[in-house]
C-alpha cells in the first residue's frame, strides 16, 4: 500500500451560521469572510502538518487546486509544493493537480512541474485534473463545451514538452506556439508519473487505461458510497484486458483515530460537522454547466444502472454532484450519518484499520489518500490524528498487496547520496 497524506487547506474560520446565511462556499463565497491575517497562520500550520506527515513516514504528501473556494485555499498548489519540495526529503510530492485547460499556455504546467521535479529530486506525482465546473467554468470563466477539448490538447502539448528532445512547434486547435522548448526538464524520465483525478466517467477510465495513468477517485463521501464507482472502474479495466493491479487506482478517505471509539467520536465530531455542513455548502446552480459532462457520458449513464448509481455518488470532482445530493437530500447529514455511511472512518486504531482494510480490499485500490486534517481541525488535533494513524493504523494496512503487485506509477527519485545538501538526510 501507498499511504498518502492529503491536505485541502480549508479556511477554518467560517461562521457557525454559514450554511444558513450563505448560498455557496464556492464561486461567489463572500470574500469579507476571509481574514488574510488568520490565513497567514493557517497556511503555516497546514505546511507544518504536511511536513510532519513526511517526518512520520507517509509515502506522499498531496496538495490540490481550487479557485474561489473556502474549503480549499490553494489556487496555486505549485507554490505550496515548492516549499514542501524544499523542506521535506522522503515523501513523494503529489500535486493533484493542475487543471490543464486553465494554464495559458499549458506549457506552463510542463515548466513548473519540471521545476518541482528538479527541486524535489524526482519526487513529483503530476496530477492532471479537468477541474470542477466551479473552478474551471465559473471561477475561471472557461467554456464548458470546450473545456475537455482544451484539456486534451493541453495534455498532448505537455507530454510533447517532456518527451521530445528538441525544440518543436505546436500548431494546435487552441494553442499555437512556434517555439516550445521547456527549460528546465524533469528528473524522472521519460516524465513524472501522471495521475488523473476523476469522477465516474467511463471515458476517463478508458483514457487512463489507454495511456497507462493512475485513476484517482477523490470522493468526499467515503468508501461505502465509492463502491459503485470503483467496481465500475475495475469492470471496465477487465473489459479492456488490463490486469487488476490495485496501484492503478487511488481513493480518498476522511479518517479520525483516537485511543478509543468514544474518544474519536468526541474529538472528530466538530471538524467533520464543520466540513460537511459548512465547507460543502455548494450551490447546486454551479454543479452542471451544459457541456461539462459530455453527451457520451450522459448516454452511458442513461444506458447503465450501475453507471447511473456511480454518477449519483460521484464526489466533488465529478461536477460537485455530491454537493447537489446533500442540497437536495433534505439538509446536511448528521455526524452519526457521516460515520454510519462511511464519509468519515472514525474509531480506535484497530477499528479504523479494520474498516480501511475492508475499503482497500472491496474497492481494490493500492494508493490510499487520507485526510487527517479537515474542517476547522486545529493543529494539535491534526497532529494527534496523524501520529495515531502513523503509529497504530499504518502497520496494520501497509503490507496489503505487498509482494502481490508491482507499483509502476510511483516516483523514482534520485538516490539520497546524490541529493543536494539542503534536500537530503545529510
Amino acid at each position: 500500500m501507498k499511504l498518502m497524506y492529503f491536505h485541502l487547506m480549508p479556511y477554518m474560520d467560517l461562521p457557525e451560521d454559514f450554511a444558513e446565511k450563505h448560498e455557496s462556499v464556492w464561486v461567489d463565497v463572500n470574500s469579507k469572510l476571509f481574514d488574510p491575517r488568520k490565513a497567514h497562520h493557517m497556511y503555516h500550520e497546514f505546511i507544518s502538518e504536511l511536513e510532519h506527515a513526511d517526518a512520520v513516514g507517509f509515502d506522499a504528501i498531496c496538495v490540490n487546486e481550487h479557485h474561489s473556494n473556502a474549503y480549499g485555499m490553494m489556487p496555486s498548489p505549485n507554490l505550496l509544493a515548492s516549499t514542501l519540495a524544499r523542506s521535506t526529503t522522503d515523501a513523494a510530492i503529489c500535486v493533484m493537480g493542475n487543471s490543464l485547460a486553465l494554464y495559458n499556455p499549458p506549457t506552463r504546467v510542463a515548466e513548473e512541474f519540471a521545476m518541482l521535479d528538479c527541486l524535489s529530486g524526482g519526487r513529483l506525482i503530476a496530477g492532471f485534473p479537468v477541474g470542477t465546473p466551479m473552478d474551471t467554468c465559473y471561477a475561471y470563466g472557461q467554456n464548458p463545451s470546450q473545456l475537455r477539448q482544451r484539456y486534451h490538447e493541453a495534455h498532448d502539448l505537455i507530454m510533447r514538452c517532456w518527451t521530445e528532445t528538441d525544440p518543436f512547434a505546436f500548431h494546435g486547435r487552441f494553442n499555437q506556439q512556434r517555439y516550445v522548448n521547456p527549460w528546465p526538464r524533469p528528473i524522472q524520465q521519460p516524465h513524472p508519473p501522471v495521475w488523473i483525478p476523476g469522477g465516474g466517467a467511463v471515458e476517463t477510465w478508458r483514457w487512463c487505461a489507454d495511456v497507462d495513468y493512475v485513476y484517482a477517485y477523490l470522493s468526499y463521501y467515503g468508501y461505502l458510497a465509492g463502491q459503485a464507482t470503483m467496481q465500475g472502474f475495475w469492470r471496465e479495466m477487465k473489459n479492456l484486458g488490463k490486469e487488476p493491479n490495485p496501484y492503478r487506482a487511488a481513493f480518498l478517505q476522511f479518517v479520525g483515530v483516537a485511543e478509543t471509539e468514544q474518544e474519536a467520536l468526541d474529538l472528530y465530531r466538530e471538524p467533520a460537522e464543520y466540513f460537511y455542513n459548512r465547507s460543502l455548502k455548494v450551490s447546486p446552480k454551479y454543479v452542471a454547466p451544459p457541456g461539462y459532462m459530455t453527451e457520451a457520458t450522459l448516454r452511458a449513464r442513461a444506458q447503465s444502472q450501475v453507471a447511473k448509481l456511480a454518477g449519483q455518488t460521484a464526489g466533488a470532482d465529478a461536477a460537485g454532484a455530491g454537493a447537489a445530493k446533500v442540497e437536495s437530500g433534505g439538509g446536511p447529514p448528521s455526524f452519526e450519518e457521516m460515520v454510519e455511511k462511511g464519509f468519515v472512518v472514525i474509531g480506535s486504531p484497530d477499528q479504523v484499520a479494520e474498516k480501511l482494510t475492508t475499503a482497500i480490499k472491496d474497492l481494490h485500490f493500492g494508493n490510499l489518500m487520507v485526510l487527517l486534517q479537515y474542517g476547522n481541525m486545529q493543529r494539535d488535533l491534526a497532529t494527534y490524528n496523524t501520529d495515531m494513524f502513523a503509529k497504530y493504523v499504518r502497520p496494520q494496512i501497509e503490507h496489503i498487496f505487498e509482494n502481490e503487485w508491482e507499483h509502476h506509477w510511483w516516483p523514482k527519485p534520485m538516490p539520497m547520496a546524490d541529493r543536494a545538501a539542503g534536500n537530503s538526510h545529510e
Binding site: 467554468c137 447546486p284 454547466p289 451544459p290 450522459l298 442513461a302
Partner: protein, 265 residues
C-alpha cells in the same frame, strides 16, 4: 394554402446533419431559433406559412441537429456554419427572423455577408453586453429558474418544450435537450457578448426589432442599443406580457407584427 404540409428534410454542414422544416409556398421566410431551439412546429409558423414558404433550419447542436457545434470554436466558425446552413436550406438572400442567439448570428451574417440575407426581424438578439445593464448568468440556474427567465408565461414554455410522452423518447429527448443547451453555452459563454457592437454599423438591412417588455435575460434597453447601432432602417416593437422568447409568450402578436412588417415592402 392552409392545407400545405410540413416537410422535413436534412442538410449537411461540416459533416453534421441538420433538420430543415418547410411549409407553405411563395417567397421564402427563414427562422433561426436560439436557446432551446424549437423542438416543435409552432402555431406561429403556421400563421406565417399562410403567406410565405416558411423555412426553419436547426442550428448546429440544437434540437433537430447532430452535434456539429463541437467543431465550432470562434465567432467566425459560427458565422460560416450559419452561412452554410442558410445556403443549404435555400435561404440565401431571404428575409429572415432570428430569435435570441439566432438573432445575433443573423446580425453577424448580415454584417459579414450583406447579400446573404434580406430584411431582418430580430427577436431579443444576444451579441451585446453593457455593464450598465448586465445580463444574468442564464446557465448558473436550475431548470425551473431558467424557464422563468426565458418565458413570461410558464404555460407557454411548457407547451412549446414539452417532452415526448414515450418513455424511451423521453430519455433521448433529455439528451438532445442537453446537447442544445451545450450548443447555446458554447456560443454564449460567459456573457453572450460576441463583439457585435463593433460590427452593427455594417448591418445596412431594414430591421424589425421585437422585444418582450418582461425580458429577464436581455433587458429591453438593448433594443435601443441595437436600433442605434444598425445602419439600416429599424423599427422597434416592445411586446406586453412577453419575456425573452416573445414569439412563444405572445405568438399572435408577434405573428401579426412579422406579417405586417414583411408584407409592407
Amino acid at each position: 394554402m392552409n392545407n400545405a404540409t410540413l416537410k422535413t428534410s436534412f442538410v449537411t454542414v461540416n459533416g453534421a446533419r441538420h433538420r430543415v422544416w418547410e411549409k407553405g409556398s411563395g417567397k421564402p421566410l427563414g427562422f433561426l431559433a436560439g436557446i432551446g431551439g424549437r423542438p416543435k412546429w409552432l402555431p406561429l409558423f403556421d400563421r406565417l406559412a399562410q403567406h410565405y414558404r416558411v423555412v426553419v433550419p436547426s442550428l448546429p447542436g440544437f434540437p433537430g441537429a447532430e452535434p456539429g457545434h463541437l467543431l465550432l470554436d470562434d465567432n467566425s466558425d459560427w458565422i460560416c456554419a450559419t452561412l452554410d446552413l442558410l445556403e443549404q436550406s435555400g435561404l440565401t438572400g431571404a428575409d429572415m427572423i432570428g430569435a435570441c442567439l439566432g438573432g445575433s448570428l443573423l446580425a453577424d451574417v448580415a454584417a459579414h455577408s450583406p447579400r446573404s440575407v434580406g430584411r431582418l426581424a430580430l427577436i431579443a438578439p444576444f451579441g451585446l453586453y453593457h455593464e450598465t445593464h448586465p445580463l444574468p448568468d442564464f446557465f448558473a440556474q436550475t431548470f425551473s429558474q431558467q424557464k422563468k427567465l426565458l418565458c413570461h408565461r410558464e404555460h407557454a414554455f411548457d407547451e412549446a418544450f414539452a417532452p415526448p410522452e414515450d418513455e424511451n423518447d423521453k430519455e433521448e429527448w433529455e439528451i438532445l435537450r442537453y446537447r442544445g443547451m451545450e450548443a447555446a453555452a458554447r456560443y454564449l459563454w460567459p456573457f453572450g457578448d460576441r463583439g457585435l457592437g463593433k460590427r452593427l454599423h455594417r448591418v445596412t438591412h431594414d430591421t424589425l426589432l421585437i422585444w418582450g417588455k418582461e425580458d429577464k435575460i436581455i433587458p429591453p434597453p438593448y433594443a435601443q442599443a441595437f436600433a442605434n447601432g444598425i445602419k439600416g432602417a429599424t423599427q422597434t416593437l416592445l411586446i406586453d406580457n412577453a419575456g425573452h422568447l416573445a414569439d412563444i409568450d405572445q405568438p399572435d402578436t408577434v405573428a401579426q407584427a412579422l406579417l405586417t412588417y414583411f408584407n409592407s415592402a
